[in-house]
Subunit: 221 residues, 2 copies
DNA sequence: CAAGTAATTATGCAATTGTATAATTAAGTG
DNA sequence: CACTTAATTATACAATTGCATAATTACTTG
């Protein structure tokens, strides 16, 4: 559809956008490219093209490409945690239901997808070399695990069971590993598992580790 | 120490090596570089320098750099499986001891190191785009999981317990996830765990999933 | 020991990369 | 409406990349 602009008023060659919008567009473009083609594919030219700007703009909003990568990594990891923790449950739901929702959310789209795993793996390389990258990794990893541990603790309290802080930590590490491992396998080899298989296995495994009977059905009650 | 060569016989400028030696040297150099600096750091120049040859030689032994990367990936993954499965146990050891050894081996050096995880993550990016890469990934993944499943099966039989093939598969996927997840966490954030903590947690988690009492001490009996 | 051959080196090249800097121009302000 | 400012584009550049090709040279074979 034609623009509603008189002929003698030439189309503006670009539009100015608020900084937040532009930054987010650049971050989204970066993540999409990293997911599709790996870090190698996320060149400044490709990113700016996808974000529909010219490449100079990246440097205007980020001191370097590395800074953009860092922002994108943080964004992605934080979002994954949020989506996983986001329980669509009635208020005052039992803690165990929230625990079940956490496991299931972490093992189905949009968290457990090959794109998402691919992005994570791409960034992991840089975690070793780059200090700032390591800080983000550490921060987001503990954010996720601590939430998990909190849910486990609440569930135990709800059931009137006692568990030491040390043992709680071990449980959280183990359960987190189950989620990470299954998540990775779904992302790396999606065709090897049937629909809903991994959430089901995840619930069974986490339940066995914690000595709880976790069931999908709890969500609909 | 000086070479035992007369002064009038000039040192040879290079030595011819069997193809296998050279290929392996190039693969080792590639893996070392990928582990240290990620795929980006594994340039043909850096690889050839580390393997102590000139860069033209890469193309002489591999049709392209991509082919070298594929060979290196296969080599690394196969070796990880072998080291994990390599039980240093007396003949006729109970299956459960071999299972315990498998879990522990997979969660301590040289398998669970940040270098090894870093290499794996670097390659994972390419698994999505490259068909041959995906084939290697699939092959090595199933090799590892099937070995694990075999050990679980043997342990159950030894204990006289019955388990269906379907359930065995679920167990193998879950236990494999525990190993993968813990392995990853050790590699990505080594300072977050104390010495021997992850093998211990791994044994506890796998034991809980399988309904077995797994103990480190079994190895020394 | 002569000659061929394959292993290895040496050199060059076109493409791509991140970044720097200059040139535009959309939009706010009085 | 002028004028300023910062958002955005446009252009250029040095460095690095994988690969191709030609030039050497170590070793084998008769």
């Amino acid at each position: 559809m034609p623009a509603v602009t008189p002929l003698d008023a030439p189309q503006p060659k670009f539009k100015r956008e608020p900084a937040e919008i532009r930054k987010e567009a650049l971050i989204s473009a970066t993540l999409a490219l990293v997911g599709e083609r790996g870090v190698r594919g996320a060149t400044v030219r490709a990113i700016s093209e996808r974000a529909d700007v010219t490449q100079g703009l990246i440097r205007h909003y980020f001191r370097s490409k590395e800074d953009l990568i860092l922002a994108a990594y943080d964004h992605h990891m934080t979002q994954m945690t949020e989506i996983t923790a986001q329980a669509d449950l009635p208020a005052k739901s039992p803690a165990q239901a929230r625990l079940v929702a956490f496991v299931i959310n972490g093992l189905k789209p949009p968290v457990a997808t090959s794109t998402s795993v691919s992005i994570w793996a791409s960034f992991l390389n840089k975690v070793r070399e780059d200090t700032r990258m390591r800080e983000i990794h550490q921060k987001t990893y503990f954010e996720f695990r601590d939430r998990f541990e909190g849910l486990i603790k609440d569930t135990y309290e709800e059931a009137g069971r006692v568990v030491s802080a040390a043992q709680l930590r071990r449980y959280a590490i183990a359960c987190n590993a189950v989620l990470d491992g299954l998540w990775m396998e779904e992302g790396a080899l999606p065709e090897a598992f049937s629909e809903g298989e991994l959430p089901s296995i995840g619930l069974e495994a986490v339940g066995a580790i914690l000595g709880l009977r976790l069931d999908k059905e709890e969500l609909s009650q």
